[in-house]
């Protein structure tokens, strides 16, 4: 039976939030907005709407986000109620960041500094001549002191892939948590590099990753615990999310000529 879908994901997310007495963050490490029929037909708008409804806190830019060009992604960023982040995608002679390099989310009295970093080798950028990708490690290092000064916990939201995440964590130990993507790996145990915890949760929306960590009074994290939730058909569909998806299907797919 096929797994996944935003309606099942919303059900699990709502359940976690309902039972949590401590802060819950919801993050996406990129490669998300485009790729399937309805998402492509809406230029990613349906995905942004779904992520808004689920209350995502941040998304980092991966190659898929730029699949239909920079202007399209900028439109989606205006519609998103969460920040779309990248510390190393720049434009112009002055290397101006195209997106916010980081965001600070205050949740439960704890300041979470979330830095976005994009992969350095994006094939799509051959057609986006005005966009440049700076070195991920150098870009993270450049922004990290500013983020640290405003944060209790620093999270890197990365589309570098697991090997890139491990290399970066080894080179830059001041990051507490790396939420990763790109290599589509299902890590049912956290990868530990020094004091940095790295996680990743599969692909195609078939899984939802959960990381629980303990935080002491000095805001040091410990005891990472990972759960990979498989969104089997037995997971009930959230009615509101189903309605949202259906409304977009009716508007954007019902007129698609049959192949």
């Amino acid at each position: 039976m096929p797994k996944g879908g935003v309606a099942r994901r919303a059900t699990v997310i709502n359940g976690v939030r309902a039972s949590a007495s401590e802060p819950v963050l919801l993050l996406d490490a990129g490669g998300t907005l485009l790729g399937q029929a309805l998402a492509d037909a809406t230029d990613g708008a349906v995905i942004v709407a779904a992520m808004n409804a689920m209350g995502y806190d941040a998304l980092t830019v991966g190659q898929a986000e730029l699949q239909q060009g920079l202007d399209t992604l900028r439109k989606r960023a205006l519609e998103a109620s969460f920040p779309i982040l990248s510390c190393n995608l720049v434009i112009g002679q002055d290397d101006q960041p195209i997106f916010d390099p980081y965001a600070v989310v205050l949740r439960g009295g704890i300041r979470f500094g979330i830095i976005g970093v994009s992969e350095a080798d994006m094939g799509w950028l051959d057609s986006l001549t005005e966009v440049r990708i700076l070195d991920p490690l150098a870009s993270v290092r450049r922004i990290l002191p500013e983020v640290r000064a405003q944060s209790d916990v620093v999270i890197l939201l990365s589309h570098l892939g697991l090997e890139g995440d491990k290399s970066l964590a080894q080179a830059e130990p001041r990051i507490d948590i790396i939420v990763g993507g790109r290599t589509r790996q299902i890590l049912d145990e956290p990868v530990l590099v020094g004091g940095t915890v790295i996680v990743q949760a599969g692909y195609d929306g078939e899984w939802l990753g959960r990381l629980d960590v303990a935080l002491d009074e000095q805001h040091r994290i410990s005891q990472p615990l990972v759960e990979i939730v498989t969104l089997w058909p037995e997971v009930a569909d959230d009615p509101a999310m189903t309605t949202l998806a259906d409304s977009y299907k009716q508007r954007f797919l019902s007129q698609t000529p049959a192949n």
Partner: protein, 89 residues
């Protein structure tokens, strides 16, 4: 006939043993070697360096540990969902 009886007896013995018999009527194999964790995906988790400190407690203890003054933070995360709305597209 003897062969059939032998197989039937074997099945009866193993289905009533402590080898994790399945539902009634489900053929069950004989004793198995130590079970491996269920394969859940593509990656073999790699630990490069584990932090020093006490062993990780069980999930329930972590999520309900108020006695030590520690707070539990939960991060839910997705990646590379490639625009999937539902399993149909």
């Amino acid at each position: 006939m003897t062969c059939v009886l032998f197989l039937l007896c074997t099945w009866l013995v193993t289905s009533c043993g402590d080898t994790g018999a399945g539902p009634a009527g489900t053929p069950v194999a004989g004793p198995q070697p130590s079970p491996k964790p269920a394969f859940t995906g593509l990656a073999v988790p790699v630990t490069i360096a584990a932090p020093a400190g006490p062993p990780t407690p069980a999930g329930a203890e972590l999520r309900n540990d108020a006695r030590s003054g520690l707070r539990t933070l939960t991060i839910l995360h997705t990646n590379d969902t490639r625009g999937y709305i539902d399993p149909c597209g």
